[in-house]
Amino acid sequence: MAKNKVADSLTGLVGTFFHLDSLLQAIEQLRQAGYRDLQSFSPVPHHNIDATLEKPPSPVRYFTLAGCLLGAATGLTLTIATSLHYPLITGGKPIVSIPPFLVIVFELTILFGGLLTLGGMLFNSRLPKVNIGPAYNPRFSEDQFGLWVRCEQKDHETVTTLLKSAGAEEIIPAGQGREL
């Protein structure tokens, strides 16, 4: 399965764990051994995994902020510009009557914020993903954990021992898409 259409991509090993703590131990050992390009698989999110992998906080928040600002701006422009473009008096109110317009502004703020948040998530986590790399095992979504280690052919020996020692139930060589 290493010779599949992602053969040209990075090679590595993926270890399967039944227990969360085994996974965490494996991550630590590999990182000490200098293998920093790791990728964990888990059925549920767990703060310890991120902690041990020492990943930076997600940048999605900036997408959200940008979305909200964009939405507010759109709201203001839309309401004011259209009213000025075709000025009609209703109920003796001024053509640009801000209080009612603020409702529109608010709703668009939320709408755009929400859309860009989702966009941010998909973009950052490289979704949607057409085909799933060979390293993934369906049970990773059910009740098992996985850890993929990027390593040259020559290092397979060491990595395998490290994973074993951490309690990996099964170790298979697997490429993984470059985008990871």
């Binding site: 075709y86 009609l88 008096i89 209703t90 109920g91 003796g92 109110k93 001024p94 009612p100």
Partner: protein, 973 residues
């Protein structure tokens, strides 16, 4: 009335041609008008106005008919006509629905073997008729001809024609006739006439049952007079008191209502005379007259009368004093009881002693109504019919089978006549029983003239080609005489030439300093020739001193209710019942539409356990009918009132099978003295049927629940002087927005508005407002843009009706505008609250947010059965289902006037733009104009201290200012 003048000028140049062209109309049957080479006066999109005469009732108002593309689309009063001076009543406004009535008879009909009426050609019809007439072999008196009062050339032509076939009986029949008044004038003054009443000079109008705002003699004229004198001028206003068994619209507009049993009016009048003479208030009476009068009224002391009539002697004295002191005053009588003539005589005496005769009551110019043949003579002829003395009966323009009492017996009598010919344009009851139907043109399609008062000769010209294969009555007779080889007696080619000859004679009589053609053209243009007639002075006729005054007598069980059948503002005697506009026009006092009812006092209703809308059986010796109950304090206890006009068994889809006609309950016996029909001479038994019948009323609630919608001010307060004050705490959140040139506004004087509802019909005609029918209206879905709201502000025992025309207020801060998501309604730069029908998506939010509830929603797509659609105003969109609509001060007229002003590059003149409601208002209660122009009438009126805005506290800043109604309170003297 500038705009009308201009229209005249437009016509002036061509009216000669008009005359010629339309003159031929009676010969040609061409109804299409070529646009490639338009006739001179037919310019596509351009309105042409023709002056003619309204023949819907004997008042004979002058009208201008607005025609576009060769069809009449709107009628308005003729400003040059002395009777109505440019205004029209609801019936006049609805006259077009006679012309365009979908149930009109469209060609001659004859009764076939199967007993049904079948179409025949005019030629065939004439042949049959000529045959029948020649069978008479000179026994012309076997032929009877019934027409209404025609007071004009046609009237004379008919007499000539009858002579030409060897005489024959001529009857001028009017259901609302005034025989007793005429007779009383003979008895009192020796002149058997109906005088002119100058109400506009009367400081005190005392009406004994004369409903001069609805049907009495000349309602539009008298409404104008009434409002003129009621207007507050120099610290005073005319006063009015209504004496009668029920509150009519006239009663509702009077300061006081004095409820009396029908027939007792004479004693009240005599009591007043007695008081006046006793207190020596009668001035300048020659001694013998004074003596004679004292003898007559001696038994009728206020105390005696008080006992008979049931009002205090002091009250009688107060009225008497007021009546004299407020000279000139006037007492009017419309007596309908068995002692009707007595009442009219008594009222004559009252007028005489108060010195009103010659002042407000003027003999000289008499009313056409005086020509009516009395009901008594009608009865006489009916007896002849029974003896088989009549073999041919002509009926034109009247519907005796509906109007006369004992309809059933009458039908049998007519059945005895071998050959009945009807000239009616409508399938009415009488026509239903005719052997031959020769439909005559409506007055819009024919030439004619009508003289309602001596000297006032309205000239009636056709305003369009006949819609169907119908002919003018005059033409039919002339063609008939041609067949009968009577030409030497009647040498005229058609009625048009006869009419001209008649006017030639007039021309010779009055000798104007112009040649006849000019005289004729001018008369056609102005809608007639109007001469004032000298007043002739009258003395008391000695005969009157022998007069003895009888109490009223009633047919029927003594414990029954005295029946009061009354003609209505909308239907007159019932001849208007086939006009959908009038059927859907709420009766001003009861607010009920599409049907009639029985009005009974709450105390009586309680006794009989009658609830609202209970279906009652009303029984008299003559017959019985069923009607739903309306419990109301508008009638005094012991009587029941029923509106006349509904209950047609024929007469088309709009009239047929609605309510019942009380005429069938009356006894046929005429009044002894004058031979008048006794309307108020029957007692009826009222019984529950156990069924209910829902009446459709447009009034959601009769009380105004202290919302201050109709506001009043006491005469005293006004005299002591008041300041106009705006609502104390009205803040504008934003600066008043900009109106570039005009700001259109309106002032409605509630003191002038009498609730006659002419504006409502005028609006429907102008703005293509659809008819919804009883069920929809009952559910609250009527479409009228303007409505006369009636609020009863009265006490428990005495109602006090206030009327307020409610239409879109075109608010500056219109609550309807900002809620519309699509800008379908917005504020235009001239201050109008515009409604864009094509943009409306129908969220109905605007209507929910309108505090005045003057927006109307199209629940369904409206229908205009052919040919009613021909009346639609081409300048106003016909709205589709799902769209909101409303009044915009007749924006089409505003734009029209602005365009005209632009063409003549000048500014708009004040009063140049007149919305339909304001145009027709007989009392000039509605004034429209530019609030920005300080000189405009409307701007000046808006500053009137009586001014207020409805629901002012909502700060909607309406463009309509109402002027408070003045409450004068009871007369003092």
């Amino acid at each position: 009335m500038e705009i009308k003048r201009r229209d005249f000028l437009k016509i002036l140049g061509v009216s000669g041609v008009t005359a010629a062209v339309s003159g031929c109309s009676s010969e040609t049957s061409r109804t299409l008008i070529p646009y490639l080479i338009p006739e001179n006066e037919v310019v596509p999109g351009q309105a042409t106005w023709y002056a003619t005469v309204c023949r819907e009732c004997p008042a004979g108002c002058g009208i201008l008919a607005k025609t576009m593309e060769g069809r009449a689309v709107k009628v308005e009063g003729n400003p040059d006509h002395p009777v109505n001076q440019g205004r029209l009543c609801a019936r006049g406004q609805a006259s077009l629905q006679g012309l365009y009535n979908p149930d009109r008879i469209r060609q001659p009909l004859r009764r076939g073997a199967d007993g049904n009426l079948q179409p025949v050609s005019w030629d065939e019809a004439e042949r049959i008729l000529a045959g029948r007439i020649s069978e008479l072999k000179g026994q012309g008196d076997r032929l009877a001809f019934i027409t209404p009062v025609m007071a004009g050339s046609l009237d004379r032509l008919i007499d000539l024609w009858l002579k030409s076939v060897g005489g024959g009986k001529r009857l001028r029949y009017e259901p609302l006739s005034y025989e007793s008044l005429r007779e009383a004038n003979r008895i009192a003054f020796g002149v058997q006439e109906i005088p002119v009443y100058n109400l506009q000079n009367a400081n005190f109008i005392l009406s004994f049952g004369a409903d001069f705002l609805e049907t009495w003699l000349s309602p539009v004229e008298y409404a104008r007079h009434f409002a003129l004198r009621r207007a507050y001028r120099a610290g005073s206003m005319g006063r009015s008191v209504y004496v009668g068994p029920r509150i009519s619209l006239t009663g509702a507009n009077s300061d006081e209502w004095i409820p009396v049993q029908p027939g007792n009016e004479s004693f009240l009048a005599l009591g007043m005379v007695n008081a006046i003479l006793a207190e020596g208030l009668a001035e300048g009476l020659p001694a013998p007259e004074l003596k004679g009068l004292q003898d007559i009224v001696a038994p009728h002391t206020p105390e005696a009368v008080a006992k008979q009539v049931g009002i205090s002697a002091d009250k009688i004295r107060v009225l008497a004093r007021a009546f004299v002191k407020k000279h000139p005053s006037v007492a009017l009588a419309d007596a309908k009881s068995s002692n009707a003539t007595d009442i009219c005589v008594a009222v004559n005496l009252l007028n005489y002693v108060a010195g009103n005769v010659g002042a407000t009551v003027r003999f000289g110019a008499e009313a056409a109504m005086a020509q009516v043949s009395s009901y008594g003579s009608f009865q006489k002829h009916l007896r002849e019919i029974e003896q088989g003395a009549i073999s041919i009966l002509f009926v034109a323009g009247v519907n005796p089978l509906f109007n006369l009492p004992e309809g059933k017996r009458l039908r049998e009598r007519l059945g005895k006549i071998p050959f009945v010919v009807s000239f009616s344009s409508f399938p009415d009851e009488t026509t239903e029983s005719a052997q031959l139907v020769l439909p005559e043109n409506t007055f819009f399609e024919s030439w004619g003239d009508y003289e309602p008062w001596t000297g006032i000769r309205g000239l009636q010209q056709p305003v369009m080609e006949p819609l169907y294969d119908t002919r003018a009555l005059g033409d039919i007779l002339l063609l008939l005489s041609t067949r009968l080889q009577n030409n030497e007696k009647l040498p005229w080619k058609n009625f048009y030439f006869y009419l001209r000859d008649q006017w030639k004679e007039l021309y010779r009589r009055i000798k104007p300093d112009v040649d006849f053609e000019t005289f004729w053209t001018e008369s056609v243009r102005r809608g007639g020739n109007f001469q004032s007639v000298a007043t002739k002075s009258v003395q008391l006729n000695p005969e009157v001193f022998k007069k003895s005054f009888q109490p009223p007598v009633f047919a029927g069980a003594g414990d029954g209710f005295a029946l009061i059948p009354y003609p209505t503002l909308a239907f007159y005697d019932g001849r208007m019942a086939n006009r959908p506009w009038l059927q859907e026009l709420p009766d001003p006092v009861s607010q009920i539409v599409w049907e009639n009812w029985l009005e009974i006092h709450p105390s009586d209703a309680e006794k009989l356990g009658i609830k609202k809308n209970d279906l009652l059986q009303i029984q008299s010796p003559a017959g019985e009918i069923k009607l739903p109950a309306r419990i109301s304090k508008n009638v005094r206890p012991g009587i029941v009132a029923i509106p006349v006009g509904q209950g047609h068994s024929a007469f088309g889809r709009y009239a047929q099978g609605r309510g019942a006609s009380p005429m069938s309950l009356l006894s046929a016996e005429p009044e002894a003295d004058s031979g008048a029909l006794i309307w108020y001479g029957t007692r009826v038994a009222v019984r529950q049927t156990g069924l209910k019948h829902m009446l459709a009323s447009t009034s959601g609630n009769d009380r105004s629940h202290d919302r201050g919608i109709v506001q009043t001010i006491s005469l005293a307060a006004l005299q002591s002087g008041i300041e106009k004050k705006e609502h104390p705490h009205l803040l504008r959140m934003y600066a008043e927005h900009h109106h570039d040139k005009h700001r259109w506004g309106m002032v409605i004087d509630l003191n002038a508005c009498v609730g006659c509802s002419a504006c409502v019909v005028a609006c429907s005609a102008e703005n293509n407002i659809p008819i919804m029918g009883k069920e929809e209206v009952a559910y609250g879905r009527e479409m009228s843009w303007i409505r006369i709201q009636r609020y009863d502000e009265g006490t428990d025992e005495r109602p006090d009706h206030h009327f307020i025309p409610m239409l879109c207020q075109n608010c500056d801060n219109a609550p309807c505008e900002p809620v519309c998501p699509v800008y379908a309604t917005y504020h235009n730069p001239e201050g109008l609250n515009a409604q864009v029908y094509n943009r409306c998506v129908g969220t109905r939010y605007c209507s929910n947010n309108c505090p005045y509830k003057v927006r109307r929603f199209n629940w369904h797509t409206a229908q205009w059965p052919e040919p009613l659609n021909l009346q639609l105003n081409p300048n106003v969109t016909v709205r589709e289902m799902g769209v909101m609509e409303k009044c915009t001060f007749c924006v089409q007229r505003i734009r029209g006037a602005e365009l005209a002003a632009k063409e003549e590059n000048r500014d708009l003149r004040d009063g140049e733009i007149v919305p339909a409601c304001s145009q027709t208002c007989p009392t000039r209660a509605i004034v429209f104009g530019d609030l920005h122009d300080p000189e405009s009438e409307v701007a000046k009126l808006a500053k009137n201290p009586r001014g207020y805005h409805v629901l002012e506290h909502l700060n909607t800043q309406p463009a309509i200012t109402y002027l408070k109604k003045i409450k004068a309170g009871p007369v003092e003297g």
